[in-house]
Structures are given as C-alpha cells and as structure tokens.
Amino acid sequence: MLDLIKLRRQHGYQAIPDIKNAKILSTHRGYPVIDESKCTGPCSDCENVCPTNAIKVNPLSIDLGKCIFCGECERACQTGAIKFTNEYKLGSTGRDNLIITSGELFVDYEKEAIESRKEIHKIFGRSLKLRQVSAGGCNGCEMELAACGNVNFDMGRFGIDFVASPRHADGIVITGPITKNMAPALMDAYKSVNSPKIVIAVGACTISGGVFEESDVLNRSFLNEIKIDLYIPGCPPHPLTIINAILDFI
C-alpha cells in the first residue's frame, strides 16, 4: 500500500496542459521550409534521394502527403535550400495544401491548411467518436493514434475518443496504404458508420501510398469513391500533430 502511494506520487501529473502550444524537441522533423533562392545547381540531389518522390524541382516543392520526413533531402542539399523545422501542426483539409513551395512559411500554412466549417463544429465540436481502420498500416501510425489517448496527450479530455464499433462512431480514421486484402473490410466499416460522418487519412501511406505506392497488392479504389475530410501527414504523425489537426478541424 505504501509503495502504491509512493508510485502515485512519483507518477505525478503527466498530461500536457496546453496541447495547442505544447513544446516539442528541436530534433523533431516537422514542417519543411524551402528557400529556392539558395538552390544553385541543376543537381536534383534532393529529388533523387527522396524515397517517396515527394520532391519536385523547377520549381522546388515538397508534397507532405508523400513525405516520410526522413530528412534525406535536407542532408543531400549542399546549399541548404530545404530545412525541416519542428513545427508539428501539419493537418490539412485539402490535398493541394500539402504541397509546400518555396517561401511558404509555417505561419501562413497553419492559417490556411485547415478549413473549419460551421456545420462540422456544430455536429462534432463537443464530441467526436472515431473508429480506426488499419488497412495495411505498419503499426507506426496505429501506435501514435493509441498514444493520443495515453496519460501524456489525453485526447479524451477534448471529447475525442476511439470507439470499438463503427456503429458508435462519427467517422473513421484510416491508416496504411489500403491493401487489396483490407479494401472490402474498410468499405464495410465506412458503410457501417451513420451519416453525417467524416473520414480522416493518417500518415503518408494512406494519403499517397507512401513507400508502398508501387506495390502490386494495393486496392486504393476506396479513395476514388469517398472524399477525405482531413489529411494528417507524417510517418508516423506525432500525437501532437494528430490531436491539433482534429481540434482545428472540429
């Protein structure tokens, strides 16, 4: 019993008080800033090293929907034209917003990336229950989604929870590149959620296929039929990225 009290004291209060302004380590690779004026050469080194073809040159751009935030482009660039900052609020309601071009600063991205709509706020603003479907996810995004509910991030305090049944959910959260073998189950889960419902795509794999884009055993037809309401890029996205994106959206 004494040990239990000691343990409780040792544990203390772990939750991050202000999740919207939480500090993150400087090493974290978040929003990339591109300064094309520093790009001097026709080398295309950044484009060549990028494992997911997220980078295009002339003009230089990074697609956050494909980017796995490995930082190889930053290392490859001799002139420092690409720099990853530790800004973690990367969520976006539009796929096009995720393409970052030269000179696009984080403050501007943050303002425009998520369009919060009145009707969404009205319906889901105070309570949002989500059903997670891993459709080929490697367990990276899944673990970060699970971490959103732990004592540190405690997403439940905002009325956002993951539930066991799609019947209890207001939307689904997809992870993974959507394998052929999971495609029917994903559609079933989506159909089981009552309208109005939202769809959130988490991680580079769901948004673009990520490192699995060229696989021959994916079936991404779900995305042709169903509109994604919120994109949360990353590989995997940090819990702060996930929670802030959802909070800004609702």
Binding site: T27, F69, C70, E72, S134, E142, M143, N150, A164, M182
Partner: protein
Amino acid sequence: MSWIEIKNLQSVALHDIPRLKVEVLRDQLIEKIRSGKRLVQFFGDKDNGDVVLYAIAADDNSSKLFIASTKFTSQKEYQSITPEIPSAHLFEREFFEQYKIKPEGHPWLKPLRKGIAGVDSSEIPYEFFSMKGEEVHEVGVGPIHAGIIEPGHFRFSCHGEKIYHLEIKLGFQHRGVEYLFVKNNARPLYLQKLSESIAGDTVIGHSGTFARAIESLSNTSIPRRAKLIRTIALELERMAIHLGDLSALSNDVGYLTGNSVFGALRTRIINTTMAICGNRFGRSLIIPGGVNFDISPELGEKISSTVNQVNDETALAAEVLFSSASVLERFEKTGVVDKATAIEIGMVGPSARASGVALDIRSDHPFGAYEFFPVHKLTLDSGDVFARSYIRFIEIQQSVKIINDQLGNFTEGETNKPVQPLEPNRLVVSLVEGWRGEIAHVIITGNDNKIKRIKIKDPSFHNWFAVSLSVRDEGISDFPLCNKSFNLSYSGFDL
C-alpha cells in the same frame, strides 16, 4: 554432401551452397532439427524458370548456420517436413503459396496470406476448421479489432466459455514488401526506408537487420561508434516496447495504475529516441554504412540519466504490479506454453525465454556491438502470462545496463562509411534480436550486383502459433490478455 557452414552476417557464394536432392535435404534437415538445431529460414527463389529451395538451420550453441538447397525443375511436389518438424509448418505453407510446389502430407496446407473471402476469386479460398457437436460454438473476431491495432481474423472454437482451438488467419496487411525490395533494387536509400516500414514498431530492429546484410554483401565494415549508437537505439526500442506492453497488460487486467505509469515511462524512452534522430520510433537513424545521427557527450549524459531514472521508477512500478494479488491472479498460470512445445514450434524471443528456452541472438549469434559486449541470457520457466510479463521487466533492466555500457565506451570517430556495390551471386543471413525475438533477413544478389531475392522473417512468424496454443483450455475472456502477452506483429508477418 554436407551443408555449408557459415556465421551470422558472413556471406557465401551461391555456387558454394550444396545442391541436394529434395529427399536428402528433407532427411538431413529433419536430422539436424532433431539433434537440437533450429529452423531459421526455408524459402524459395526463382532461377531461370526453376525454383530453388533454400533451408537454413542454426546451431545456437556454436553460433553456426547451416545452409543447403534443392532445385525443382519439373517436379511440383515433395514430401512435407511438417509432420516430422512442426516448426516448418508456416514455412512450407508460404513456399507452397509463393511457388505452387506442394508439400505432400502437410496437415494444414491452407493459404497463408491469400484466400481471404470477398477479395479475389482467383485465389484458393481459405477454409476454417469447424467444430460440430452439442453446446459448441464458434466466435469470429476481425479483421478489424476493437482497439487501435492491426487487422487479422481470429476464429475461436469454443465449448461454452472454454476455447478448444483458436485459428488465426492473417494476410490482411500484405503490402508486397519483398516484391518492392526487388522491384526498386536500384534505389538503396528507398530500400532502407522500406525496411523501416516492415513493422513500424520494430523500426530499429528491421532497418538494422537489413543494413547489416547490405554491409556484409558489400564488404563494408562500419565504424565502431556507429555500432554503439545502433545498439543504444535497439535497446531503447526494446525498453520502450516492453514498457508499453507492461502498460497494456496492466490495462487488460483492469489495473489502471500500471496502465498509466508504464505508459508515461514509455513516452520518456521514445522521446529519448527522438532526441537522437528526430523520430520517436527511430526512423531515419540507420543507413547502410552506419548511422545518420551522432550522439554528442551532452546527449549521451541525458540518455544515461533518463534511462537510469526510468529504470528506478520502473522498479517501483513493477514491484507494485507484481505484488498485486488481483494482477497475479490473472497473470499466473494463464496461457501456458511449456518448454517442449516452445522448442517444437520454434518459438523465439522473450516469449520463448519466458518458457525456459535459452535463445537470444545477441548472445548466440552476436552482431554489431554485441560482439564485444556479451549479453547474459535471461530465462524464466513457467511460460505463462506472468513469465512473459516479468521477463519484459528484467529485460528493461538489462537494456539499461547495456545502454550505459555503450555510453561508457564511446570512442571518437566517424558515424558512417560509404558503401561499395554489392558482390554478385552471393547469399547472406542477417540475424538480429529485436524486442520480439529473432529477425532474419536473407538476401540473394544477382549478376547485376543488386538484390535478386530477399526473404524477411519477423519473429511473429514463429510466435503466432504459440498464441493459438496458449489459449487452449482457457476462457475466451483471457484471450486479449494472452494475445497481449505475446504482442505480435501483423504487418511483420504479412509483409
């Protein structure tokens, strides 16, 4: 003709690998396993229209690996090994599924990753066992599970609350990983990133296994400092997952203090990994030739003080957890896998060690820095949920010691070296003790100095069947607890 003998990470020319008749290979493999060796890999490769089958057995006592092969030209079947060697059952099913060569007499020759209902009618459908009789019933769970976890289908055959058998059908996560490794074999950096996504909870484990295989095939000897950093990262990964597992195990028995406390401790460890390389799971840390990120003296001190503090706090939390009667009542004698069964089905990792099998690749087939820092093998005997939980606790303590050893032995120097092209027509076996157990990557290079075939084995490949066996005769309500005590990978199995 005897099998060729190599060591972990020692590559061998393809023409030096003995080519036996399939009957001879079968007999000799059975004899080897019966005399205490362990089946590590068993896989096929296309060779000018023919299929070559490679078998790799490990002698863990002498740190040796034995390889032999056989060739199928027109022959489309052979006599199954599984009836003699149960640990071969999934390997043979995989070989059959990939190359259509039938192991005659295999007791459960079902599809492994294919055959899921409603997906592709051209595949052989997977048929579940069914149980008939009064008061018996079946419970199907999945592919989508209640929590935020990966998909798989579990079919329970029950009598009342009691589980007779659990059949596990995986394959939902199949992403064509091995295919992508070969398809994109001209892009080494892509391959390294792909290896990080084989199983996203074992980033350091799989990416290190792959990088070491590439280094062996290109005769690159990496700087000592890089080896130490990789080892620190691997042990941090082990600590983080074990802490997360203790948290989840506490949750599964309704012990919420443990759930919160171990969960918070895990966060501190994965944040330490992020302090090294900018990602909580260690992505981007390892590249062939070394590591992308150095550990400065200040960071080294921070890592040391964090792991020591986490160690002290874990000790108290574990003391409370493992002395709680309500926890012990659920943990003890639940989901038992005995030692003989564990050896027979080829279990690996902490789950095997919890059943008394002294197998740890860090000690048995040392790689990287473990060559100069021997690891003492830890085992427990009871093989129940308690043992699989407690071994995680003592392995956390061991990891802390290993991390401090590495930090105390840092030498100045580079953190990576350029990698030369791969040597053609060679095979290498790369074994690593990940947090789940033995990760085995086998790479075969072609004439063009590139990867021609890669066979990846996550430890889950061996251990899923142990989950099935552990729940026999248990109540169905104990399944989540038993499953969590193994914490196996779906994506690592499905590839």
